[in-house]
C-alpha cells in the first residue's frame, strides 16, 4: 500500500487515529484510575480518623470511669463525612478491646485498642468469679472437681502447670475458665470428658497474674473491763443478757438457754478466753449502728441445733478467733450462723446440714463445707485450701490458694459484699487488692 503513489493519506490518517485512540484510551484509563484511587484513599483516611477518634474517645472515657464500662455496640454516630460505630468487648477479666469502624461512602476502616485492667490500690479485692484459686505450689491442684460437682459461674487460677485444673468425668464448670498468663488450656486443664468437655465457656489465659492481698488480722482489744464468768443456770425467766463491753474468762450458755446481746445501737466489744455456745444467740437494739464483735482467745465451742443471729443481719455480728482457734459449726447438727468469722491460723468447718450466712475470712487456715452444709457470700482464704464436700453447697465467691469440690457439690456465683465486714481486713501492703473494680489503662493500638 505504501508503494502506491495514490490515495494513502486517508488510510494513514485512520491508522494514526487508531493509534491515538488506543493511546488515549490507555492514558485516560490510567489517569482515571489514579484519580479514583486518590479519592478512595481520601475516603479511607477519612474513615480511619472517624474510627480512630471514636475508639480513642471511648477508651479515654473508660479510663476515667472504670466502674461504668459501656459493653456492646454503640449506635452509629454521624459526622459530616461519614459515620462510625464502636464496640466494647471484655476479652478477659483484665482485658478490654474497643473496636471502632468508620465508614465513608461505603468504605470502612477498623481500628482497635486494648486496655488492661489493674487492681492496685486500697479497697476490696476483685471478687468476680465463683472461685479464684491462687495456686501457689502445694500438692493440691489449684482447682479440682470430682463426682458430679459443679461450678456455676466463672472460675480462675494463676496456675499454668500441667493438670492444675482437674475436672473428673461428670463435673462441670458452667462458665468461663481463666488460667495463668501464658498458660495453655490443653496443658493446665485436665478435662476427663474428652467428648463434650467439662467446661461450658472458653478457657482463656489471664492477661496478668492476679494478686490477692493477705488478711490483716485485727489486734485484740486490751482495755476492756473484766467481768465475771457468764454461765446460764436454770432460772424461771431463762433470760440472759450482755449489754456492755467486757472481757470474760468464760461465756457458756448451756442447757439451751438463749443469750441476748443488747447492742444499744452501737458497737459492742466482747473479749473472751473460752466461748461455749450451746443455746441460741440473739442481738437486740441493733439500730442504728449496732455491731457485735466477739474476740475469742483460746476456745470456741458449739453444739446442738442452734441459731446464732439467724434472723438477723450478717453485718451485725463478727467472731474473731485468735491464733489457731478453729471455727466449727457443729458437724452433727443443723447449726445456723449469720455473721462474719475471721480466723488467723484456725480452720473453719461448716458441716452436716449447718447453714452459714456471711463472710468467712481465714488469714492462714483452711475452710471446709461438708455434708449438706451450705454457705452464702464469701470465703476468703488466700493461703488456705477450701474444700466443699458431699453435697456441700455454696452461693457466693471463693478466693483460696487451692479449691476442691468433692463428690457432689454446687458452687454458684453471686457477687459477695465484703463491705459488711466491720473493718478493712485486707492487708494492702501485701500487694493486690483494688477498688473492687479494675482501673483501666495502658492502651495498646491494634491495626486491623
Amino acid at each position: 500500500m505504501l508503494g502506491n503513489q495514490k490515495g494513502y493519506a486517508l488510510p494513514l490518517t485512520l491508522i494514526v487515529i487508531l493509534v491515538l485512540f488506543i493511546l488515549g484510551t490507555v492514558v485516560i484509563g490510567v489517569t482515571t484510575a489514579q484519580v479514583k484511587e486518590s479519592v478512595i484513599q481520601q475516603e479511607r483516611v477519612q474513615a480511619h480518623y472517624l474510627a480512630y477518634y471514636g475508639a480513642d474517645a471511648v477508651a479515654r472515657w473508660i479510663m476515667d470511669n472504670p466502674e461504668q464500662i459501656p459493653l456492646g455496640d454503640s449506635l452509629p454516630v454521624e459526622l459530616d463525612t461519614g459515620t462510625f460505630e464502636v464496640n466494647v468487648e471484655q476479652v478477659s477479666p483484665n482485658l478490654l478491646r474497643i473496636t471502632s469502624t468508620g465508614t465513608v461512602n461505603g468504605r470502612s476502616q477498623t481500628v482497635a485498642v486494648e486496655l488492661t485492667g489493674t487492681s492496685a490500690g486500697a479497697g476490696i479485692p476483685l471478687l468476680d468469679m465463683a472461685v479464684f484459686a491462687i495456686g501457689h505450689g502445694g500438692t493440691n491442684p489449684a482447682i479440682a472437681l470430682t463426682g458430679s460437682s459443679q461450678i456455676i459461674g466463672p472460675a480462675g487460677t494463676n496456675a499454668t502447670a500441667e493438670n492444675q485444673v482437674s475436672l473428673d468425668w461428670s463435673t462441670h464448670i458452667y462458665g468461663d475458665l481463666f488460667i495463668g498468663p501464658g498458660g495453655s488450656g490443653d496443658v493446665t486443664v485436665r478435662q476427663a470428658n474428652h467428648q463434650s468437655g467439662n467446661v461450658d465457656g472458653s478457657i482463656t489465659p489471664l492477661f496478668e497474674e492476679r494478686v490477692y492481698p493477705g488478711v490483716n488480722f485485727p489486734d485484740f482489744p486490751e482495755h476492756l473491763p473484766q467481768r465475771e464468768d457468764l454461765l446460764t443456770p436454770w432460772t424461771p425467766s431463762l433470760y440472759y443478757e450482755i449489754n456492755a463491753d467486757g472481757r470474760y474468762d468464760l461465756i457458756h450458755n448451756s442447757s439451751s438457754r438463749t443469750l441476748t446481746f443488747d447492742l444499744q445501737g452501737e458497737t459492742r466489744t466482747i473479749r473472751v478466753r473460752e466461748l461455749r455456745i450451746e443455746g441460741d444467740v440473739v442481738l437486740k437494739n441493733v439500730e442504728p449502728d449496732g455491731k457485735l464483735l466477739i474476740y475469742v482467745d483460746e476456745i470456741f465451742n458449739t453444739s446442738g441445733n442452734r441459731e446464732i443471729n439467724w434472723n438477723g443481719d450478717p453485718s451485725r455480728l463478727t467472731v474473731i478467733l485468735a491464733d489457731s482457734v478453729p471455727f466449727t459449726a457443729n458437724p452433727y447438727a443443723q447449726y445456723k450462723f449469720c455473721g462474719n468469722v475471721i480466723t488467723n491460723h484456725g480452720n473453719v468447718s461448716v458441716g452436716a446440714g449447718s447453714s452459714f450466712k456471711g463472710n468467712i475470712i481465714s488469714a492462714n487456715g483452711d475452710v471446709s463445707v461438708t455434708g449438706a452444709g451450705n454457705v452464702m457470700d464469701l470465703i476468703y482464704a488466700p493461703n488456705g485450701h477450701v474444700r466443699l464436700e458431699n453435697s456441700g453447697d455454696m452461693e457466693g465467691a471463693i478466693v483460696a490458694n487451692t479449691f476442691a469440690g468433692y463428690v457432689d457439690v454446687r458452687l454458684r456465683f453471686r457477687e459477695p459484699d465484703p463491705s459488711i465486714l466491720p473493718f478493712d481486713i485486707f492487708d494492702h501492703s501485701s500487694g493486690g487488692g483494688g477498688t473492687g473494680k479494675l482501673t483501666w489503662g495502658n492502651p495498646r493500638w491494634i491495626g486491623e
Binding site: M1, N4, K6, G7, Y8, A9, L10, P11, L12, T13, L14, V16, I17, L20, F21, G24, V27, I28, T31, T32, Q34, V35, E37, S38, V39, Q41, Q42, V45, Q46, Y49, L50, Y52, Y53, G54, A57, V58, R60, W61, N65, Q68, P70, L71, G72, D73, S74, L75, V77, E78, L79, D80, T81, G82, F84, V86, V88
Partner: protein, 107 residues
C-alpha cells in the same frame, strides 16, 4: 466492474488529503481535550494526596487546630452516653477543591 478504492489511479488525492486533515484535526482536538483533562486529573490527584498528607499530620499532631462544631454529638451505648463535638480539619487544593477530615472530640 467497480475498482477497489485504493487501486484507483485518478482523483481523490486532494479530497482525500483534505478529508484526512479534517478528520485528524477533529480527532486531535477531541484527544487534546481528553489529554488535558487527564493531565489536570493527575495533577489534581497529586495535590489531593499532598493535602491529605498534610491533614493527616495535622490530625495526629495538632488536633487542637480543628474547627469545633457547636452541635453536641453522642456515642450512645445501652447504659452509657459519651458526649462530644465534631472537629473538622480542612485543606484546599487546586481550583477551590478541599479535603476534609472529621473527628469526634469528646467534651
Amino acid at each position: 466492474m467497480k475498482q477497489p478504492i485504493f487501486k484507483q489511479d485518478s482523483g481523490f488525492t486532494l479530497v482525500e488529503v483534505l478529508v484526512a486533515i479534517s478528520i485528524l484535526l477533529i480527532v486531535a482536538a477531541a484527544m487534546a481535550g481528553l489529554f488535558t483533562g487527564s493531565f489536570q486529573g493527575v495533577v489534581s490527584s497529586g495535590e489531593r494526596s499532598e493535602a491529605l498528607f498534610e491533614l493527616q499530620k495535622q490530625a495526629e499532631q495538632d488536633l487542637a487546630s480543628a474547627d469545633i462544631g457547636s452541635d453536641i454529638i453522642k456515642i450512645e451505648f445501652v447504659d452509657v452516653s459519651i458526649s462530644g463535638r465534631q472537629g473538622t480539619l480542612r485543606r484546599s487544593f487546586s481550583n477551590g477543591k478541599e479535603v476534609v477530615i472529621n473527628v469526634f472530640i469528646p467534651d
